[in-house]
Amino acid sequence: MTCDEVRPWLVQGLYEDVPEDRRGAVKEHLAVCADCRRASSEWAETVARCPRTSAPDAAFFERQRRAVERRLAAPAVGVRGWRPGWVLVAGAAVVAVWVGRPSRPPSVEPVFLAQMDVAENVDWLNDWAEMDHASAR
């Protein structure tokens, strides 16, 4: 085995993950390769000094389990709680409000804009008529 082949096994060896049929070859390589022996001991030191995050205690998981059970028992809320019937009722209410809205007198501004449109159209028609007249001549 070459150094490149053996080194991943060395890391797995830190966690005793090297299968039986590979152990012999790894040991043989380490016996003759000082570089890999040094690398292996450095990685072992790193792993040994790397703090482990401790898991929460049993009381935490008991609280968590109760919280999950409460959430399973709680009725759906918010958008998920909507039913098709409620959507129809809400839609009908919107339509009713829209239809029943008080009619407003037209404001000055739309009338003015409408007049502007007419004036522009008249100008355009006049221009067109003049061009048509000139071409006829």
Partner: protein, 193 residues
């Protein structure tokens, strides 16, 4: 395992008590799986609950093609991804709000959001000088998959094959991630603080 199969069958028929037994059986693993991806943040507890609530809603779709724990971890992975996306949006939002900060550089809205950066944490600041603290930060700085593989193997002792199944990657890829994680941590350890 016989109990698990029975509880799964009962849960699929809508028995929430049976599902509660499954929660008790697997909550430590799901919690560890989520913590391995996110590190020790408070959200891990709620995300673990979210994963089980989603599992309850989808338990009828569980056909037993894989181990229940693997299936739960796949749900947990989706929950983690959703949370990370939400965090990304939150960071963008923070950046957008930063232009409205007051004269003292404090934002009244963001003051309510806990700051999880190590430099905002007095314990983290105190640890900065020692090796354990440096290694802990080095683990947190690993690429996400390397970090998850390393934490699951180092902190929780999961077998490599199980890590691969839970994360949906080949065992060979798990081994490669573990190798890169350990060699990267060694390099960090050799650097001067």
């Amino acid at each position: 395992m016989e109990d698990e199969a029975r509880w799964v069958e009962e849960a699929r028929r809508g028995d929430s008590e049976a599902f509660g037994q499954l929660v008790g059986l697997h909550q430590r693993a799901v919690y560890a799986f989520i913590a391995a991806h996110l590190g020790p943040v408070d959200a891990v507890d709620e995300l673990t609950q979210d994963a089980f609530v989603k599992a309850w809603k989808g338990i009828r779709g569980f056909r037993g093609d894989c181990a229940l724990r693997t299936w739960l971890c796949q749900i947990a992975l989706n929950v983690v991804r959703g949370w990370l996306r939400a965090q990304k949006v939150r960071r963008l939002w923070e950046r957008g709000l930063s232009m409205f900060r007051d004269d003292e550089g404090k934002d009244p809205i963001l003051e309510t959001v806990p700051d999880r950066r190590s430099d905002a944490d007095p314990v983290g600041t105190a640890e900065r000088g020692d090796l354990g603290g440096r290694l802990r930060r080095a683990v947190a700085a690993l690429p996400p998959r390397e970090q998850a593989v390393f934490r699951l193997r180092h902190d929780d002792g999961w077998p490599l094959a199980e890590i691969g199944r839970a994360m949906g990657i080949a065992e060979g890829t798990v081994k490669a991630h573990l190798f890169h994680a350990v060699t990267s941590l060694r390099r960090q350890m050799e650097e001067r603080p």
